[in-house]
């Protein structure tokens, strides 16, 4: 059965990308690409990582996508899988590496891939409460007061944690030469 093609505009809602609906529609498609390319040579965690990176890159470049979302997602996925395999030194063919370089250049993905790596490193070792606070504040645009009520902590506690996280992540990103 052929996958239905969509433009990125179809996933726009109130100026924001409806990332949940995008993930609902495209996850299986991307997983299929990953499975076909890797022949199960990478772990479940790595596959999940690639999936989240694909959607992150789509979100980040939502204003620049001029092909269908499926085509774009497919291109990103292939590059990210090859990048993962290259780092794990599981290249089947030297041409894979050569193709990888030209594909990255054509999609201008060097910066995006680097940013994915930086951001992924920031996520490691984050406490559950920190993840919740970050997502509520930056993703769901909740106020610190609302977050405090939801998490049953003081508002100053939320503000202090945000301050600490901003500082930590800023350091991580600049230490790793991030943007």
């Amino acid at each position: 059965m052929e996958t239905k093609k969509h433009s990125i505009q179809e996933y726009q809602k109130d100026g924001e990308l409806d990332i949940d609906r995008l993930m609902d529609d495209l996850s299986q498609y991307i997983k299929t690409i990953i499975n076909n390319m890797t022949n199960n040579n990478i772990s479940y965690e790595d596959k999940e990582e690639i999936l989240s990176d694909v959607f992150f890159v789509i979100w980040k470049n939502k204003d620049k996508i001029d092909s269908t979302v499926e085509a774009y997602a497919s291109g990103i996925t292939k590059i990210l899988v090859k990048e993962k395999l290259r780092k794990r030194k599981i290249l089947e063919n030297i041409e894979d590496y050569e193709n990888l370089v030209s594909e990255k250049n054509s999609l201008n993905l060097e910066d995006d891939i680097h940013e994915c790596e930086c951001v992924s490193k920031c996520i490691k070792n984050l406490k559950e409460i920190d993840i919740l606070i970050l997502n509520y504040f930056y993703y769901h645009s909740k106020t610190t007061k609302e977050i405090a009520i939801m998490l049953n902590v003081s508002e100053i506690n939320v503000r202090c944690r945000l301050f600490r996280l901003r500082n930590k992540i800023r350091k991580e990103i600049s230490d790793k030469g991030g943007v």
Partner: protein, 364 residues
């Protein structure tokens, strides 16, 4: 965490970093304007023309968070050895410690370990040497002029002494460490109890005397147990005073502090402003207060948990400053009722502050 949550988290972090970039751009512009404004203020108060170039001394401090863990122990943060070439070697430090242990009569206590430590509040690095029987020695990582000794003595509560006699003992001990107290003044003597008759630890503080003023950051301080004349701790600080000239007036300093205070909305009315001139050490209290008032206030009031404490790391510089104390019209038990700004007497920069009324002062 599944890929859905990870995706949203990555988006959150990206949004955060973009927001930070934007804020930094705005801050940089505000800072430039602030510097221009303060320079104009300085020069407007000058009574004579000059072509002197005034070098700024305040540098944007590094923000330090997550220094401590929940249990109060330090997180394993790598120490930034910015001036590694000037650090004393472990061997030098160990030899120094052995010499000091001998001088304190503790030469038979072996060294257990030597470690380099930083502090979240300033760029100062020091070595901590731990010896047997809970004795420790600290020494500045770049020179041996600033050092300390600590001996956690037990079962000493029965010993009693006399202030004058102990002073002689203390002076002799200091002399044994080749420290000349000629230029120092005994500024205060305290005891571990409020009543001298029951005191079993006496504290003597000597500060460098420059004639018209005293620099408390060039200090020799000794805590001594009477009768046995054991040193409980011994501190030598040699934070040299930069002897910077006075180029701004008292009125300039007052205006600079009041202008800065407008940035934060305390909601209080100013009752009084007092200005004195003195020697002060750079710290981040004013910077913290002006740039992050809410967290500063919560932290000062003890409302912030230890793993969330915020520090700003400044340099360890001692300068001639105007101490501008702002007193608010609120009950004095309130920690917010008073704040003293350290205004550099040469550059007019705010280089520190504290939450006390500044009572000492030097002759102008």
């Amino acid at each position: 965490m599944d890929y859905r949550e990870k995706t949203k988290l990555k988006i959150s972090i990206y949004k955060m970093s973009e927001k930070e970039k934007q804020m930094n751009k705005e801050k940089s512009l505000i800072n430039k304007v602030a510097i221009v404004a303060s320079v104009v203020l300085i020069f407007s108060g000058m009574s004579y023309a000059t072509t002197k170039i005034i070098e700024k001394i305040w540098k944007e401090p590094e923000v330090i968070t997550g220094y401590y863990k929940e249990d109060g122990s330090k997180n394993e943060n790598p120490i930034e050895k910015t001036n590694e070439v000037n650090l004393l070697s472990n061997e030098e430090v160990e030899n120094f410690a052995i010499q000091k242990l001998k001088k304190f009569g503790k030469g038979d206590n072996n060294i257990l370990n030597v470690r380099l430590e930083d502090r979240p509040q300033n760029t100062n690095l020091k070595y901590i040497v731990e010896a047997e029987n809970r004795i420790s020695i600290s020494v500045d990582a770049t020179n041996k002029n600033t050092w300390g000794y600590s001996n956690n003595l037990e079962n000493i509560s029965e010993y009693r002494g006399n202030k004058e006699e102990l002073e002689k003992v203390v002076r002799n001990i200091i002399k044994e460490h080749d420290i000349d107290l000629e230029d120092y003044k005994l500024v205060k003597v305290n005891t571990n109890t409020s009543n001298e008759e029951t005191a079993y630890i006496w504290y003597y503080y000597f500060y460098k005397d420059y004639g018209t003023f005293i620099n408390k950051y060039e200090e020799v301080a000794v805590a001594i147990v009477p009768e046995i004349n054991e040193v409980f701790w011994f501190i030598v600080n040699q934070d040299k005073f930069e002897n910077n000239e006075i180029l701004i007036t008292k009125e300039d300093a007052k205006n600079i502090a009041l202008e800065a205070e407008k940035k934060i909305e305390t909601g209080y009315e100013i009752e009084d402003v007092d200005v004195k001139i003195d020697i002060a050490k750079m710290n981040s209290r004013a910077h913290f207060r002006l740039n992050n008032y809410e967290i500063y206030k919560a932290q000062t009031n003890g409302e912030v948990s230890i793993e969330d404490l915020v520090y700003y790391r400044t340099e360890d510089i001692v300068r001639r400053c105007y101490m501008v104390t702002i007193i608010y019209n609120i009950p004095k038990h309130n920690l917010d009722s008073i704040f003293t700004y350290f205004i550099d007497a040469t550059t007019g920069e705010i280089i520190g502050g504290n939450e006390h009324y500044y009572t000492s002062g030097i002759t102008e």
